[in-house]
Subunit: 193 residues, 2 copies
DNA sequence: AGCATAAACGGACTTTACCCCGCTTAGTAT
DNA sequence: ATACTAAGCGGGGTAAAGTCCGTTTATGCT
């Protein structure tokens, strides 16, 4: 009995998940996130709608699943890549590097990431890898601050909020550089002794 | 010819708007934001569905309209109330006071504010009164920072993002105090010379 | 191989936001 | 008053998310 998954995803189910993700990626490239509907996806994949929902739970779930690999790859670079993004540099330096990379990342995938936001319930801040990582680096920076958890949440919002919530995505605007530079200012000022 | 509105809202339309807002407030108190539907609202108000959409454009629009007065009142306190929230105190002191009040405000009205988020398009950061106010106070603080606009956007996200996006609203959690305290830490550190 | 069963499937059904457009009416000009 | 017209109104229609449940099938056991 092989353990491909932690007990219980049937082979056909796994196959269908992959197929659905592939079709979703196609439709995304072809039509844009707005136009990817559950019915459309199901039909184009040659599967029932119920199946799509069973696999992904919600429309947002599809986009979240679509980001899964990409997000994991990013995480690997952060956790074990070369410094200053990965370990080996000072915490503040790593925070700056993280913000810079993260802004690029958010920018590059903003369409999917926006679509992956479940508008009905909040993102658990604990689940956010950004929040956790920022929290850790803040800890290492040795700040004299009582509530690092909340500060980390706020910095996460400062980093990701603009792209998820506020800034309209116009092509030529250099918003990404400005956000990255401004993040550096923010972090360096917060972490000054 | 009286100028109740800047040209062109018919009397019956104005009456209906008020009535709809009143009914919406009722339903909100009675059923919660989730259960306020456009059909339900229209029916309970004794009006057609088309009318509701004509008046508010979108479901989110209703909640935005519901917050309009409240938001305006808040704005008045900020622009011309007693210090440190209003003018008369130093910019950093005002930033801290603003954040504290704003967190309370967001907390108090989180149900409506979340419902007022239009899930389909971003909030224009320029329209956000928070962003503008924070931008102004940052300017007065005389920081040696090149891009105050972007910094203001990020601080706005740090202030409002957690409540709009991340933090789950559990009753007894003292999240509001923690956010307010943490905001103070953030602002004072950012503004240190 | 045959069986039992939990998992997966499909698609009709429900709900809700939002659109459309022919009809009605407030406001105004004569 | 009357007539004109733009704004407003109503409610049926559409599209898309999400639910339900009867049917099918993969999988481990004997």
């Amino acid at each position: 009995m092989p353990f491909g998954r932690p007990r219980g995803e049937r082979a056909d189910a796994a196959r269908n998940r992959e197929h659905l993700l592939a079709v979703a990626r196609e439709m995304l490239a072809e039509l844009g996130a707005e136009k990817v509907t559950m019915d459309g996806l199901a039909e184009r994949a040659g599967l029932g709608k119920g199946t799509v929902f069973r696999r992904f739970g919600t429309r947002a779930g599809i986009f979240a699943a679509l980001m899964d690999d990409t997000e994991r790859a990013f995480q690997v670079r952060v956790l074990s890549g070369p410094p200053p993004l990965g370990p080996g540099a000072g915490p503040v330096e790593r925070l700056v590097a993280y913000g810079r990379e993260r802004v690029d990342f958010l920018f590059e995938h903003h369409a999917i990431l926006r679509a992956a936001l479940d508008r009905t319930r909040p993102i658990p801040a604990e689940t956010s890898m950004s929040a956790l990582h920022i929290r850790m680096l803040l800890g290492q920076a040795g700040l004299d601050v009582a509530d690092l958890d909340t500060l980390a949440t706020q910095l996460t919002a400062a980093l990701e909020g603009p792209l998820l919530l506020y800034v309209a995505m116009t092509e030529e605007s250099p918003a990404d550089e400005r956000l990255a530079d401004s993040w550096q200012v923010l972090v360096e000022r917060v972490c000054r002794p």
